[in-house]
């Protein structure tokens, strides 16, 4: 059941690749614009890199949030999910996981390549990738709440960003902080532990909250 929903969302993403690629290209382009705009000052770029990559990842993952439930809402599948004998939270978790596989994983894979533009040393690249690996699922999970709350609203896209971006702040701080701490020689352990804690907390709380929000939106 849980696997069915993931399989279905991945299948839909495969059949409609343009949606997936826009998110990825948005991320690539935003990250690449900064070195062009700021100029080739290596020291400055190295300091900026983690923040820029992380902010771009936040925006890219938000870009696709609107689609998380809207397609199912329009064609009536969401109604069927609400009256499914299976737990709605589990379904939402499946959808958030599929969203992460489709939008988060490509970002994680691209990040080390993009980091080279900022002249990041190898261990900083590794920390950046690891922090994104831990952080991007949190973005999808928290995003699911925002997407569920703004379902079917006109101008929902702007509202999603207002609702969700403030909640992303801790992830941004500790994600970018991990890379800074590791380049400063402090070790990224503490930041990574906190990111892991966010991930666990949102795995437990976000599907349930999003399920409640969906029920409210669909009344």
């Amino acid at each position: 059941m849980f696997l069915w929903i993931i399989r279905r969302d991945l299948l839909l993403a495969m059949r409609r690749r343009a949606d997936v690629l826009t998110t990825l290209f948005f991320f690539i382009i935003v990250v690449s614009l900064f070195p062009l705009g700021v100029g080739p000052e290596m020291n400055m770029l190295r300091v900026m890199a983690p923040g820029v990559v992380w902010v771009a990842a936040l925006l890219a993952s938000m870009l696709s949030l609107g689609r998380m439930f809207s397609g199912d809402h329009v064609d009536g599948t969401l109604e069927q999910m609400l009256i499914s004998p299976q737990s709605l939270s589990l379904l939402v978790l499946g959808k958030a996981l599929a969203h992460w596989l489709v939008t988060g994983v490509p970002l994680v894979l691209m990040a080390p390549v993009l980091g080279i533009q900022y002249d990041l040393p190898t261990d900083a690249l590794l920390v950046l990738t690891a922090s994104l690996l831990l952080g991007t699922p949190v973005l999808s999970l928290i995003g699911a709440i925002g997407a569920a709350l703004t379902l079917g609203l006109r101008g929902g896209g702007v509202l999603v960003s207002l609702l969700v971006l403030p909640l992303y702040i801790p992830v941004l701080i500790f994600g970018a902080g991990a890379v800074e701490a590791s380049t400063a020689g402090l070790g990224a352990g503490a930041h990574m532990s906190l990111l892991g804690a966010f991930l666990l907390a949102s795995l437990v709380l976000a599907p349930w909250t999003a399920a409640v929000s969906l029920r409210i939106s669909m009344e």
Binding site: I5, L11, L12, R16, D75, G76, T77, L82, P85, E219
Partner: protein, 177 residues
């Protein structure tokens, strides 16, 4: 039971309340003596009921067979390729199972939706305008399906504007003003 009434008289709202998608302003909906929301925890009520609404729940990018298998899996019944194939065949979609739903006509999409009734195995069917967009042959087919379900002791609550006569032990008409 057939729910009748002019447009806007609240037929769909009533059916949505019956399946727990909407909350009634007054009163409560009971199944087997207990309020349906209290049964929600175990999904006990949802497991005995199939609701087909206005929206078809058919995904444009998936094939007919994928649509059927996924929508049944969502309602808690996992079916294999063979069974889905047979159900679609029965609904007159033989040879079109592997076409993406976007190339199917409105009536064919409806048939894909209705094919779920063949595989769901639930007692209570709540059908909102199941006959829209269907041709005469398909209406006959659905009629047979409904009669068979009632014959096996199932229950149906449906709305329709079309006149169909269903042969069953007990039929009721609810007229909404």
């Amino acid at each position: 039971m057939q729910v009748q009434g002019p447009n806007g008289s609240g037929k769909t709202s009533l059916l949505r309340m019956l399946c727990g998608l909407a909350t009634p302003a007054h009163g409560e909906i009971r199944w087997d003596g207990s309020e349906i929301r209290s049964l929600r925890g175990g999904g006990a009520y949802f497991g005995t009921m199939t609701y087909l609404g206005h929206a078809s729940g058919v995904k444009d990018d998936l094939t007919a067979i994928e649509n059927l298998r996924i929508s049944s899996a969502l309602s808690g019944v996992e079916i294999d390729e063979k069974k889905a194939h047979d159900a679609l065949q029965h609904m007159g979609l033989g040879g079109r199972e592997l076409l993406p739903a976007k190339v199917l006509s409105q009536g064919q999409r409806r048939r894909v939706t209705l094919a779920r009734l063949l595989v769901c195995g639930t007692v209570l069917w709540i059908l909102d305008e199941p006959l829209t967009a269907l041709d005469a042959a398909a209406v006959k087919l659905v009629q047979g399906l409904l009669e068979q379900h009632l014959g096996q002791g199932g229950m149906i609550v449906m709305t329709t504007h079309q006149e169909i006569e269903i042969a069953a032990i007990a039929t009721q008409r609810l007229q909404l003003a």
